[in-house]
Symmetry: none
DNA sequence: CATCATGTTCTCAATTTGTTCTCGTTAATG
DNA sequence: CATTAACGAGAACAAATTGAGAACATGATG
């Protein structure tokens, strides 16, 4: 039996909600999630999905919806990529399972976030406009690190970090011939993270 | 058995409290922690968590709650990273769950593999020795693509691809002033993949 | 021991949520 | 036109969940 558009929407909403929150949504939330106001209607959809075999419910229980099959549209989402040491000469490349699978957090570490780089101030370090910078949360940096620095609690910028001998001043050095080093009192600069990697995507 | 919203809140509060203070909270503190006033109610939640197997209590003892399983908030293994559009000025950066989580395969695509780049032949394209190149499996390329090419079934190399007008010859162009373009008969060159992205890790 | 703080058990009431209905609207179809 | 299906709103009810606080038992402490 085929599902109606709204039934599919509800199913999808529930799947995403559970993926995100580990618990099922309430009928009220489902209703809002698909843009209606009536709990009763939401219940009707859920019941239809139960009849169709996609869901089960603990009757009466709050948040009592359970997903049944991985009927879902999610093929067991693979999040890794094989890393080949050398491109095998001769034979067509084969991904040897378990060869060495890398993923984002294994490769760069855990306590990180990503930001899209805007501007050309670091081109000479190989960091281009549009690249994604991988930043580790940290509040301190060593001389020579490339950091995300917040200036006057206002402007965030990616620059190479240098501290003057007595630590009174901080230099933020662009890697771009043609741009000039900026110098601030240490109190005006707050380090938000240190560059640990970068991504680039060619389109 | 599934937990109710407040039961989860209490469990989370206890976990955090213990992580912070090394001892379990008293019922009064639990109550305040989740925004209620009644010790009795707090006790009811704790008892429910005991029944569900998350906690144990030394009956009567003050601060007598113990955590059981690492049922806790151990994320199985996170493979994504938050992508921040802009670094929020002012406040410390917070990872907003679901903000925009990227992972390797989402970002670069599916049918890919990774190779460590050896040599400096592409430095002027911003591809450095030691970078990881993300390659999409393909056997054909367009002029201007950066490809992994296998020459004489022997040597694999990363270069920019150009085909001569009639397709008889293939130029493999390094992006490095000081290195020269290589030209081969088309039959000697096999494309193994096209560069779609790259990673760099700073150590 | 005396006292207080804390844990435990209980009842009562309020609120939230799930469930079942009816009603009206719209669109498609014969 | 009559019929049917899908849809949305919302009322009404039952049950789950929640909150307050009294009363008592027991641990902690000087």
């Amino acid at each position: 039996m085929a599902l109606t558009d709204n039934q599919r929407a509800v199913l999808s909403f529930i799947q995403h909600y559970i993926a995100e929150n580990d618990v099922s949504p309430k009928l009220q939330e489902i209703a809002e999630g698909i843009g209606i106001r009536s709990r009763g209607v939401a219940h009707r959809y859920v019941q239809a999905l139960v009849d169709a075999g996609f869901l089960a419910i603990d009757r009466g229980r709050h948040r009592g919806i359970r997903l049944l099959k991985e009927h879902s549209h999610t093929p067991p989402h693979k999040d890794t990529m094989p890393l080949l040491g050398k491109i095998a000469a001769g034979s067509p490349i084969e991904a040897i399972p378990g060869e060495d699978e890398i993923n984002l957090t294994d490769f760069f570490g855990k306590n990180n976030f990503a930001v899209r780089v805007q501007g050309d101030s670091m081109v000479d370090a190989g960091i281009y406009d549009g690249d994604i910078a991988i930043i580790e949360f940290r509040e301190t940096a060593n001389n020579g690190d490339i950091v995300v620095a917040l200036i006057d609690e206002q402007e965030a910028t990616l620059k190479r970090f240098k501290s003057t001998p007595h630590g009174r001043f901080i230099q933020l050095v662009p890697e771009n011939r043609g741009m000039e080093t900026m110098v601030y009192e240490a109190s005006r600069v707050r380090i938000q993270g240190v560059l640990v990697g970068q991504l680039r995507k060619y389109t």
